[in-house]
């Protein structure tokens, strides 16, 4: 990190309230348990759509989205179950989508890699790497032109910065001083490829200087730190001070796609996992909450509530009907009837 950038790291945020910490904890648990359940259903073949699990990275979605309002936009990619839940997307609708059901959030046309929840500002997540980054810039431009103070957040991986349109987008946002938060979830892999097999240096954050916007490198497994940085970045955006680049360093526990623990890149990855498992963002949050005096039972109750919510979503998904043949050719064009 160059000095110019280090200087832009915000001052430590004021201490978060316990309630806020509990919210963050609950969000992370909802993501974790939803995905563990989905993983099981993939394993047994009930879910067939390719699922890229977010387990291990929950602090990023939870921390960033806690800093947002319903009217703010969130954009994601192939690994967006967490973004969807953290921003307030309906769990049943997502589970049904994974089951390819008509009640799914995308009506059974998208699957895990295409999630949507317009009512909470998620206008779509899609699996083409970096694809929603320019869209996020456009939504921020819309906010500006509409005179709202909505910010637009794009979540993407360390692989996405290799796509040229990442750079084009950051430049546009910086130039027009748009309210965008670029959240790079650096989990050090793009499928089987390690970061340093794809770039000369671990220097993603240095692009902030090149593009002329503030950049902050963060421990992406520290939900409090992510939250604080996102509050700062969202504030900058709302005040018309332009975009921010956040690099959240984290790690995915499972394989690139599918439920299993990732061994396809060999022994090294197994060693890394050993380092990263203890950094579990949920365990850390739990530890911290207990240290501040929250009783374990309170947290256990949250866990149990979430477990029930996930079971309910699963039952809903299973019981829902499939799309019918007559749905096949609808919505190729949008019509007023869709409005």
């Amino acid at each position: 990190m160059t000095d110019a950038i280090a200087a832009q790291i915000p001052p430590p945020a004021e201490e978060l309230s316990v309630d806020r910490w509990i919210d963050l904890y609950r969000t992370m648990v909802r993501i974790r348990l939803f995905e563990e359940c989905a993983a099981d259903q993939v394993e047994v073949g009930e879910i067939k759509t390719p699922c890229h699990l977010y387990i291990g990275q929950e602090a990023v979605a939870a921390g960033v989205c806690a800093a947002l309002r319903t009217t703010d936009y969130v954009w994601g990619g192939h690994r967006s179950h967490g973004h969807y839940l953290a921003k307030g997307g309906d769990m049943r609708a997502m589970m049904a989508e994974l089951y390819g059901k008509r009640t799914g959030c995308s009506r059974g046309r998208g699957g895990s890699m295409h999630l949507i929840a317009p009512e909470v500002g998620i206008l779509g997540t899609v699996p083409l790497v970096a694809a929603t980054i320019p869209l996020a810039v456009g939504a921020a431009l819309a906010s500006r032109l509409q005179g709202t103070d909505a910010v637009s957040v794009t979540f993407f991986g360390d692989g996405a910065v290799e796509e040229g349109h990442f750079h084009e987008s950051v430049n546009l946002a910086a130039l027009y001083r748009l309210p965008v938060i670029f959240v790079c979830e650096n989990n050090f892999y793009a499928s089987h490829m390690r970061l340093l097999e794809r770039r000369a240096a671990d220097s993603i954050i240095d692009f902030a200087a090149g593009h002329g916007l503030p950049g902050i490198r963060l421990d992406g497994n520290d939900v409090g730190a992510v939250y604080a940085a996102a509050i700062e970045a969202a504030g900058r955006g709302r005040r018309g001070q332009g975009p921010t680049l956040l690099e959240c360093r984290t790690y995915r526990w499972r394989g690139h796609v599918g439920p299993s623990w990732d061994t396809d890149v060999g022994v090294k990855r197994r060693d890394e996992l050993k380092d990263w498992l203890p950094k579990d963002p949920i365990a850390r949050a739990r530890h911290r909450l207990q240290a501040t005096g929250v009783a374990p039972e309170v947290l256990d109750r949250i866990d149990a509530d979430v477990r029930r919510e996930v079971e309910d979503a699963l039952a809903f998904a299973r019981e829902s009907p499939y799309p019918q043949d007559e749905d096949l050719l609808t919505h190729v064009y949008w019509t007023e009837a869709d409005a």
Partner: protein
């Protein structure tokens, strides 16, 4: 009625849309330039301010993607590509994103974006500054594609394109910019998907796109002089195209020329020829004849350009041929 040039008509449509709909804005290269878009956007930034008229970095992908994202967030952007060739850098946002969005998400989020691309060729600009790539986009479900050939349509189709809830590619041709025609002062929309019969005739149907539709208008009197009574159909919208109008005409004439100033193989003309040959098999009295560019990149030197481009002569020749069959 008042006449305007094609470029002025485009400009007027932009201005009226900007004046009447706060959701409309422009993004793209050359918007603050006195010459990039010819006169089709002259001083538009001075009239509507640079907040709504955003000249942009040389970033076709991100500007197009940003327009698409803004459309999803409730705006009605027009993203401008001063040459269609440059737009090839934005095929991902157009084809993978904008075109699929309605379908992938069950119609929940419309993408009312207009992607304006100018065909700008000739003048010894050569292969990378000459392409007419409508066929690539006509193939893509979820997109609409319009190609006006008259000042009247240039205005009305832009209005419809902006008012439609879908991604519409609006392709204009610099070779038409100085053509004059009657254009109402008020804002009006021309329904997408509806062709215009420019001349009715009994002997042969000429279906043409854009510049070739204008050339066909010049070809008709020449054909008439030879005793050939041509019916001229300006397709106007390539996707979805107006089968009914074309079918009705071919049922009458039994003969079809399709003229599209783009490469022949796999071009827009192929689709029209194929559909007519399938659907009106019994009615066709001669094989369909396509008037297109040869399957070669655009050359540079003027003599080669002259040999390369097609126009009235080629339309006349094709009409003669299908009649001689």
């Amino acid at each position: 009625m008042r006449t305007l040039t094609y470029a002025q008509a485009i400009r007027e449509a932009h201005a009226q849309l900007l004046a009447t709909d706060p959701r409309v804005f422009l993004l793209g290269q050359g918007l603050w330039s006195p010459w990039y878009a010819g006169t089709s956007l002259k001083d538009i930034d001075k009239e509507f301010g640079r907040d709504r008229i955003l000249d942009s970095p040389v970033s076709e992908n991100a500007t197009t993607g940003a327009a698409i994202g803004a459309a999803m967030a409730g705006m009605r952007p027009i993203v401008f590509h001063p040459r269609m060739d440059f737009m090839l850098l934005a095929v991902d946002p157009i084809v993978n994103q904008a075109a699929n969005w309605s379908y992938m998400f069950g119609g929940q989020v419309p993408v009312p974006v207009v992607i304006r691309a100018a065909i700008n060729r000739g003048g010894e600009q050569a292969a990378q500054h000459s392409q007419a790539l409508q066929a690539m986009f006509m193939h893509i479900p979820g997109l609409k594609v319009v190609m006006p050939s008259t000042p009247y349509d240039a205005k009305g189709l832009l209005v419809s394109a902006v008012q439609d809830g879908n991604p519409v590619m609006y392709i204009d041709d610099r070779w038409l910019y100085e053509d004059e025609g009657e254009v109402p002062e008020e804002m009006y929309a021309i329904p997408l998907g509806r062709a215009a019969v420019r001349r009715s005739g009994r002997d042969v149907t000429i279906v043409a796109t854009s510049f070739m539709a204008a050339q066909a208008v010049l070809a008709a009197p020449r054909l008439e002089g030879e005793g050939i009574d041509a019916e001229l159909i300006d397709l106007r919208t390539l996707k979805p195209w107006d089968r009914e109008t074309v079918f009705a005409s071919v049922r009458k004439t039994g003969r079809l020329v399709v003229a599209d100033a783009a490469w022949k193989t796999g071009g827009a003309a192929a689709e029209i020829a194929a559909v007519v040959a399938e659907e009106l098999f019994g009615a066709l009295r001669a094989p369909v004849s396509r008037v297109c560019l040869p399957d070669a990149p655009a050359p540079m030197s003027v003599p080669l350009e002259q040999a390369y481009y097609v126009g009235t002569d080629e339309i006349v020749g094709a009409a003669r041929r299908v009649l001689a069959h």
